[in-house]
Subunit: 264 residues, 2 copies
């Protein structure tokens, strides 16, 4: 943090001009080209936010529905709710636990532990109809790789760059979806105020801000689902650094363990 | 939205220098003074985000615990979990439904329909120890008043200014809290993509982005719980305008109705 503890001004810039991403595409090269196309260059302290979709595509996490043989459960559920049984089958395969399956809505816990609709399987913004895209296999690892390569290419110290992988999740109790972090590298996912005191002397105990989720949501403000703006640059946010030598917890640290989860 | 549908660059500025807010304080005057102190002035298209705490204080939503007589339920629960029974009593009075009451955690539905810890009753950042602050009685009405007065004072058209009231909420399944909108004026809470098609022709059906929550979270990035930065200015976000002549739905539109809520 800055000396004042205040991030006075934060800037968020959407990076446009990305092509359709094919398996094996170098997101680092494409990111640097997009930055350069907007007369930008990475600086120490930057946070780069990627939609999970382009990372998944670059990593080949694409399934052609023509190749999927649906199970009996997938066929029954799909028939009741006017869905494609092959797509439902992919969802079931990506899930490690079904959280709710009711009124046409399938909320699942993914292999990573995230809880979201359809286990993150998505048919929008694919290369062609009849394909679905899965979540990246290990979004924290994807973020770490991108961070390493971006920092090296831009010639900035690794500790001064953070990368976030975002996806669009619904949530209980509130309408609408927001972008949250499903992968992170180089940044403490949660900024804790535990033990700090307010100006009156009251000790904050429960306050832990999920900074990476707020950054992912902020990035969505400059992205657009229909216009290929899959990356955002956030500048001027003095992000919570990892302790020196500490392992990188990533967005996996955001997964609430079953014992403290009241809404399984 | 801009012609391209893309918000290329968004800026978020924290407004500092606010005094302790007393009941009856003019937040409009204080906001204009804070802006001026940072050589800023409101412009068409700005979004101003307030923490609910300063609005509640200005509206006198403060309870001195010395005046509270706890009920038997409050006394029992407080004794079991090392809490102040008078504060628990205030929480129970602010709730219209208890969602979970377990392992020392009290998650309640507020009179507004929001689901959060302790019905939004908070003992941090009060004027003095022994006080708690409630949520504003009608945060959408507070937002509408602030928007009207700010637009008039700054001489900009009402449709070109939005105001959001934010609070810090936890959520199921994910560790940490984020700032969300509990009040809004002049902005569509949800940006719907329903019926629009991606570059491949796939029709987006379920995508509705809760823009006001992402704006509230983005504002938190420049706020700080211990340094009196209770207001943020967001500039360059082409916010989803209300349809001409339509009523202002406010953040109340984010409250999911019971019939579509799987996690009551």
């Amino acid at each position: 943090m800055s000396a004042s503890g205040i991030n006075a001004a934060v800037q968020i810039v959407g990076l446009a001009g990305f092509p359709e991403i094919a398996p094996g595409a170098s997101l680092v090269e494409l990111t640097l080209a997009a930055l350069s196309g907007q007369a930008l260059w990475l600086q120490p302290g930057d946070v780069v936010v990627y939609t999970s979709k382009i990372i998944a595509k670059a990593e080949g996490r694409i399934v052609a529905l023509a190749d999927v043989v649906p199970s009996s459960l997938a066929i029954t559920w799909a028939a009741t709710h006017a869905k494609d049984p092959r797509q439902v089958e992919v969802v079931l395969r990506e899930a490690r636990r079904i959280v709710r399956m009711d009124r046409g809505v399938l909320i699942a816990e993914t292999q990573h532990g995230f809880v979201c609709a359809n286990a993150g399987v998505d048919a929008s913004n694919t290369k062609q109809l009849g394909e679905v895209v899965l979540l990246p296999e290990d979004p924290d690892a994807s973020a770490r790789r991108l961070r390493q390569e971006l920092a090296a290419a831009a010639g900035i110290a690794l500790e001064d760059l953070a990368v976030i992988v975002s996806d669009t999740f619904g949530r209980p109790w509130r309408n609408g979806q927001t972008n949250v972090a499903i992968g992170a590298a180089g940044i403490a996912s949660v900024r804790s105020y535990a033990g700090e005191r307010d100006p009156t002397g009251y000790e904050l105990r429960a306050t832990e801000i999920a900074a990476v989720d707020e950054l992912a949501g902020a990035a969505e403000l400059v992205m657009h689902k229909l216009a290929r703006v899959p990356v955002a640059l956030i500048r001027g946010y003095d992000f919570p650094r990892l302790a020196a030598g500490a392992p990188d917890p990533g967005a996996a640290a955001l997964v609430r363990v079953a014992a403290s989860d009241f809404f399984r």
